[in-house]
């Protein structure tokens, strides 16, 4: 079973995403911001990370830049999932090492196809 870390400051979004991912057979953990996500990754690197952009304490993009510098931090497939839906943000995410990008609102079909595209399914 593959693991996925869901990083979002909204409890509702985490709950919805978790439900979709568990149906796709992922074991999920959650984090409310980038710093919490760093702690999870430091103890055990997940196979996938579904990542919000705007969060308190540490934003998604800042987390991603730090993650990619960590030991083993190049391994997880990172899929942004955010309301930032303009080309400039998408390009910034890709250059920081994101593998895919979901523009909210999302549904299970979108999560499934994006995870397939990066080879997680």
């Amino acid at each position: 079973m593959k693991s996925c870390l869901v990083v979002d400051d909204s409890r509702v979004v985490r709950k919805v995403a978790r439900k979709i991912l568990e149906e796709l057979d992922f074991a999920c953990t959650e984090a409310e911001d980038g710093r919490q996500a760093m702690e999870v990754c430091a103890s055990q690197m997940p196979d996938a990370i579904l990542l919000d952009w705007n969060m308190p304490v540490m934003t998604g993009i800042e987390f991603l830049r730090r993650l990619r510098k960590m030991n083993g931090g190049d391994a997880p497939k990172v899929v942004f999932c955010t309301t930032e839906n303009d080309l400039a943000h998408i390009q910034e995410a890709l250059s920081a090492g994101a593998n895919e990008y979901i523009m909210k609102p999302f549904d299970s079909d979108i999560i499934q196809t994006k995870f397939q595209q990066v080879g997680l399914l």
Binding site: N85, D86, I90, E100, M103, F106, I110, T113, Q116
Partner: protein, 284 residues
């Protein structure tokens, strides 16, 4: 809805689009035709049926047909057929057509154009290998509205997230508010035409590759046969035909045979597509 009205609409749709409407789809007919009735300032479906019977107004009949045809589509739908195109079909055609450097691809029942544009993206990724080649991608659909949408190449945020890798979005689309438009370069690679699969297909010319996926599922057996045999007449003897995952030629026509090991891929029985030497068949 009155039984005689349902029967009349069902017959009309069968004649014009080949769509088979069983009695259990009466709700679908009602929900899709009510907006048409409103558009034409009619009270309801009885009025609409009466008007169709007395006045054969072509634009009204077209509105009815378009409302009932399914326009489900997404970029790189099912992915595998596009992998096979890129790794097996295209390299083979580049060898077999090397002298004339011309390939024609047909996206039949193309809806809003995602399949045709997905192929254009793949070809654009292979631009270096295709220098000096003329590659035509032609999308056809029965619906004038869909053909217009396909030509415009404008998609919602939801549509561009279904099947389209993010790198392709960045490379081939321009953002305009909450819509995304296919680049001019890609739109120039594809042409779209309004065309009924049940009509005479000969004006379309001959194709090397035909995508006719998830179309036959809406037809009854004789109509499926008619469409397949029509497609066969428009294909190069060593061309390939793609059908949807739930579709087959078996029991419908002997004009096609399967390409060995490739689910959903067919070639004319009289000739036959043979993968270029050195290309491995991808396990379906």
């Amino acid at each position: 809805m009155r039984v005689e009205d349902f029967d009349m609409f069902a017959t009309l749709l069968k004649q014009r689009s080949g769509l088979v409407l069983t009695k259990d789809k009466a709700y679908l007919l009602e929900s899709r035709l009510m907006p048409v009735a409103r558009k034409w300032n009619m009270k309801g479906l009885e009025d609409l049926a009466a008007t169709v019977r007395t006045r054969k107004d072509e634009s009204l009949l077209r509105d009815i047909t378009e409302a009932m045809t399914t326009n489900e589509s997404s970029f790189f739908r099912d992915q595998k057929p596009f992998d096979i195109f890129q790794n097996l079909v295209l390299p083979t055609l580049l060898e077999t057509r090397a002298s004339r450097k011309h390939i024609r691809i047909w996206s039949a029942a193309c809806s809003s154009g995602q399949e045709a544009y997905s192929l254009a993206m793949l070809l654009s990724d292979n631009a270096a290998r295709l220098a000096g080649w003329r590659i035509e991608i032609i999308g056809t659909d029965i619906s004038a509205e869909m053909v217009e949408r396909a030509r415009a190449g404008v998609y919602s945020q939801f549509e561009v997230q279904r099947g389209l890798p993010i790198q392709h979005l960045v490379k081939h689309f321009k953002q305009n508010g909450d819509k995304w438009q296919i680049s001019q370069a890609l739109r120039q690679m594809v042409s779209f035409r309004e065309f009924n699969l049940l009509g005479d297909l000969s004006p379309l010319g001959q194709f090397d590759v035909v995508f006719c996926r998830n179309v036959l599922i809406y037809f009854d057996q004789p109509t499926k046969t008619k469409v397949l045999e029509g497609a066969a007449r428009q294909m190069a003897p060593d061309g390939v035909l793609y059908l949807g995952g739930a579709e087959t030629v078996l029991g419908l026509t002997d004009r096609f045979k399967s390409v060995e090991g490739q689910r959903g891929l067919y070639t004319p029985a009289a000739g036959g597509f043979v993968p270029a030497p050195g290309l491995k068949l991808v396990t379906a």
